[in-house]
Amino acid sequence: MPKRILQTTGLLAALLAMLWVGCADGDEVDFNHDIRPILNERCVVCHGGIKRQGDLSLLFRVDAMQPAESGKQAVVPGNPGTSELLRRVSHHDPDERMPQEGPPLNAEEISKFRRWIAQGAPWADHWAYVSPTEPERPAVSDPAWPRNGLDYFILARLDQENLAPSPRADCPTLVRRVSLDLIGLPPTPEQVASVCDDSSSARYETFVDSLLASPRYGERWAAMWLDLARYADSKGYEKDIPRTIWRFRDWVIDAFNQDMPFDQFTIEQLAGDLLPDPTEAQLIATAFHRNTMTNTEGGTDDEEFRVAAVIDRVNTTWEVWQGTSFACTQCHGHPYDPFRHEDYYASFAFFNNTADWDQDNERPTLPLFPEGNEAEGLALLDEIEAIEKRMIEIASTPEMEEARRAWEGQLDDPQVVGKVLGTRQNEVRRIAQTPEAERDDAQRAHIRYIYAEIVEDEQMDALRQERRAKQIALRDIKPILTPVMKEVPPTQRRTTHVFERGNFLLRTEAVEPGVPASMPPLPDDAPRNRLGLSQWLVSPDHPLTARVMVNRFWEQLFGIGIVETLEDFGTRGLPPSHPELLDWLALQFMHEHQWSVKALLKQIVTSATYQQASSVTPEVLERDPRNRLLARGPRFRLAAEQIRDQALAVSGLLSDEMFGPSVMPPQPPGLWQNPYSGARWQTSDGQDRYRRGLYTYWRRTVPYPSMVTFDSPSREFCVSRRVRTNTPLQALVTLNDPAFVEAAQALARRMLDETAIGDDPVPVEDWLTTGYKLALARDPSAETLFPLRTLYDEAAQHYASSPDDAAAMTGQSTNPELAALTVVANAILNLDGFVMKE
């Protein structure tokens, strides 16, 4: 027992040291390190961005130095004696003492406050909001170990902890790891042989280059990006009907394959339509923010869900590029981070003037016409546009305006309002109830547009009929219509208001587009639109974007980010395990690699850190159970898409067809049952049954079952991190899902077909070895082979006497050997080593 306590204490000490080096008790008090945590943990709940009790907020220095409601000043720099904060936290009377909730501050905490105030109460920005500076390369114990710059930071930290790095992983394991990491697929036995015959670094690097050049590379990294882009093939909400937006998915694959610099990748997705003479690809890129959901449920308020989409664009932009949980500020000031309520709506204003408004037809869209129909299609579009322009012209004549005003006054009559199209009545009534002088341009245009659609008038009727005919002609050409971002014309701009407590019906003061005051300013000459915002995000002195992105790629490779909370770099996120490494990588990414993702990935996978073996001793596991220090290589379960792709690849079933509409591989019947929706799962034929997981049709309310079981999100919202679980339902998928059984059948056939015929008439061990090598890229040990052999013998015996079972198991032949190999292949596809990256 005493031994146990000692062990635990030692462990605790190690962890303390590990997570925060130098928790010094010296005189110098560091605001971020010593003060902010206490403020965040104990004070800001009542004196922060949501509640400002006693008119005191401790989020910004300026607020803390102002007299509060009591007239007293919480913090008087240099003068602990007159600082109300200090008086209250050390008060002997529990009624006076702060904080009111929980235990009083301890002596050390109070002493920190006293010393900090005496030192002038210097405030410091949270690390993530300060631009990174080039860290010095640290000294290390073994200068021969690092293979490139990043290794110095890892090794220096291991030195501090008295831990040694692990040896390099064995070659086949490393080849499989890097292949799964860079292209999401396992290596072929031939690839393994070609690198490992002579496992020099040069061979490894050549292999890395070949992976980066493979078209499979873009597919693998697109899968990651699509979680952030919340890409799906359906519109979400109740009916969750199909959406055609796969051209965006293809754009992402292409962008990764071409190694589009990340700054350009950012600008094109957020503001491709605002670039001068945008290309078609740049317009498709803007579909990034058309992946927001559209509510087609009957009776919904279109304006409410347009606003919901804009809110999602703001939240997603801040989460993806800034690692910031900006959503808090939708309703109130940020509880912990230096963002004000108005900051949210200044961001909102960047996105509030696009032409989409929760319409079932998802306009505006970019048409792609089938070959030969382009001219006709474009002409029809022009004609429709001209007709609509004419309709608005007519609706703007004084007589029509007069008639419209009269109509607005009759909206209480069901006969009248019943004609308002579809789901627009709530917005129309809101506008009608707003005096004309108080309507903004968008509202004026909107109600005129609605009126033009419903007014009974001969001329309008004729125009609408003409338009209908053209719309039918257009539909018959079957263009592919991809939703894209498009700004409204200058005459229809919406004014952005702060919404009280986030409620879109409670508009308060108007705001202009802008960025939070606590961040670097927008340059004076930057356009105040999405283009200006996107350029600002990737400007070289921006503190967050590059850090957030290198952290995302790091997490994909090592399973856990340098900042574990990929989605939150704020004060409530977790601190970086290697702050200097994060800064170094961010600077490398921007300057050395010029935002090249391939160069960044190559740098990481050729490091000594990445190439370590992933096995762990009990001692190291006890010291660093989650591998935060990287004294070993990464070992974690593959992502949902990779689990599927790998099974198809090793069984030889995988189709290498790229791009195009999403496909519907077999899934159990009866899953799609959304109300008021006729959408059906129509199982694909031929090669489309075996496409990579990222091409599988993604319906938000009913995602592909085996993917969800392996923790893929629904894609309703941006998700930075997939939680990795380990459940019995996952075992059931890889054991019994017909897709995995089919893979086992095909792998068994390969075991027979691809084993060289030797002298032994029944080369069972050779078959088993072939299968294991195809699946896991390495030779099986005797301890592995023995249970497989036992299983094979038991199965073969059964199938020799049960040809019907054999035929069912193989899916074709009654050959008992093939049936037994299918059982073994099924087992191989369920091994821990198969579903894990090692």
Binding site: D413, L621, D737, D832, G833
Partner: protein, 495 residues
């Protein structure tokens, strides 16, 4: 021993077992350690609590905050929102106003889904009578339930923020009208773990031919690990997806193949030391057991005739009645949260299937007998004392007639109404035979005892032993909870 002591003891047994495992394998429960750091700006207590979950056994039994009154929940969601005015909320004044123009004061500032302009009032399409000792009002459409009113607490002034199905259903189940939050069943299984690891801890049963409007998100795990999400058990095909072995693979060969997999994995663990492998071994064993235990639990053929008569069940069908009986079988076996959805209550009156004078009556008929049987059956087995049964829709319906087209229509219906509806709750810790909350003369809004969805959630969690403000999980920089930043326990209905 009360339930809390029981839960604590089970937890201690678990901890002891884990401790044993840890000394054998060194280093399980990794996440628990990571939060011990003192100097770093560690996140709040929610993070610590979340991280204390044993990652290798996330469904292990866990004690709640205080002694619970109930151990499990059966939630009967009448999807589409049944009309309270035809079932429980008796309004003679509304009958007198039938056909009159709705006063402007009721329409001011309101948003409706389908009502256009100024509608007419619609009197109750039912007759009402008081029942039982408690004298609760129940309409002629629910003759069976009327016999059980003394076991039920009616909440007559429920209200919500949402007037469309998908967001309102999300609010009921996840505490938020937007997608992405964990559902109540996920929170409860996260908080309590499971009593039967051979069955999913949170089971969902659908009937009515249509899934809930908000899809699987109403039983999703949101940002909680997927191990806490609701598992849909189906009456046709595999009760749990991919539960059956492939054709041609006998049970014996499946057992042997799992043995081979686990033997190789155990060897792998010796080689590489990753404790995740031990978890995988345990999960494969559990999957194998589930292959037997789930079909056994889902097979109602072994129920005696009197039970089938009582519920109105027919083995092999997908029906609400079968699902009620399954709910009883599942809670009997220790399943923590059973969620039923029965679609078809969206009585707008635009067509027969959704009219108060047609489809609505069918729904009443389909559900009345099995719901009552479920209450009686739980009671006679002594399970009602520790099981909560909740019945309700996602919002209520207007006292006005909805007439979307303005044309003559043989069918009558009511529009969505977020201001008031009736929910009832029965079982462990609930005061039986009471009515809480009152509505105005025409049933348009609650005038006393109003209960918001978040209050109902806070109350359910309270009965399970949780302070709803402390059952939290860290996500996007803050501690999230089922009740968002709202919720007040409805003390008046606590026994």
């Amino acid at each position: 021993m009360n339930l809390h002591e029981e839960a604590n003891q089970a937890h201690l047994r678990h901890v002891t077992r884990r401790h044993f495992l840890r000394t054998c394998t060194t280093g399980l429960g990794a996440m628990a350690l990571a939060s011990l750091a003192g100097c770093a700006p560690t996140p709040d207590t929610a993070v610590r609590r979340a991280m204390q979950r044993d990652v290798t056994d996330p469904l292990a039994l866990h004690p709640p905050h205080f002694a619970p009154k109930a151990k499990r929940v059966i939630f009967l969601h009448m999807a589409g929102a049944p009309s309270q005015l035809e079932l429980f909320d008796y309004k003679p004044t509304l009958a007198r106003l039938d056909g009159e123009r709705c006063p402007d004061s009721l329409l001011e500032g309101k948003r409706f889904a389908f009502i256009r302009g100024v509608p007419k009032m619609l009197g109750p399409q039912a007759t009402f009578r008081q029942h039982g000792q408690s004298g609760a009002w129940v309409s002629n459409h629910l003759p069976h339930l009327a016999t059980m009113v003394d076991d039920v607490a009616f909440l007559k002034a429920m209200y919500t923020d949402e007037f469309n199905h998908a967001p309102a259903q999300l609010l009921v189940h996840t505490g938020s009208a937007r997608l992405g939050r964990p559902s109540m069943g996920s929170w409860v299984t996260y908080g309590l773990g499971t009593e039967n690891e051979n069955l999913p801890a949170f089971v969902v049963l659908l009937s009515g031919g249509v899934a809930p409007d908000a899809g699987a998100s109403v039983y999703g795990s949101g940002f909680l690990p997927t191990v806490y999400q609701g598992v849909q058990c189906r009456s046709k095909g595999d009760p749990v997806l991919f539960l059956s072995d492939p054709d041609g693979l006998s049970r014996d060969l499946r057992r042997r193949s799992i043995e081979a997999i686990n033997r190789i994995n155990a060897h792998q663990h010796q080689e590489v030391g990753d404790p995740e492998i031990l978890t995988r071994i345990a999960q494969y064993e559990m999957a194998f057991r589930m292959q037997t235990s789930v079909p056994e639990a889902m097979d109602i053929n072994d129920e005696p005739d009197y039970i089938h008569t009582m519920y109105g069940t027919a083995p092999g069908e997908t029906s609400f009645a079968n699902n009620c009986l399954l709910a009883r079988r599942l809670v009997e076996r220790g399943v923590r949260f059973v969620q039923l959805f029965h679609w078809g209550w969206d009585s707008h009156g635009a067509g027969a299937s959704e009219a108060l004078n047609a489809g609505f009556l069918d729904r009443c008929h389909e559900t009345d007998r099995p719901v009552t049987a479920l209450l009686k059956d739980l009671k006679q087995r002594g399970l009602l004392d520790e099981t909560l049964v909740v019945w309700g829709g996602e919002f209520g319906r207007t006292p006005m007639l909805e007439n979307r087209t303005g044309l003559d229509n043989p069918y009558v219906g009511r529009d969505h109404h977020s201001d008031v509806f009736t929910i009832w709750i029965a079982g462990g810790g609930v005061k039986a035979g009471i009515t809480h909350g009152e509505t105005d003369e025409i049933g348009y809004t609650g005038v006393s005892g109003r209960v918001h969805i978040h209050d109902l959630q806070a109350t359910i969690l309270h009965l399970l032993g949780f302070d709803h403000e402390r059952l939290t999980y860290p996500f996007q920089g803050r501690a999230f909870r089922l009740t968002d930043v709202h919720g007040k326990v409805v003390r008046e209905i606590l026994a």
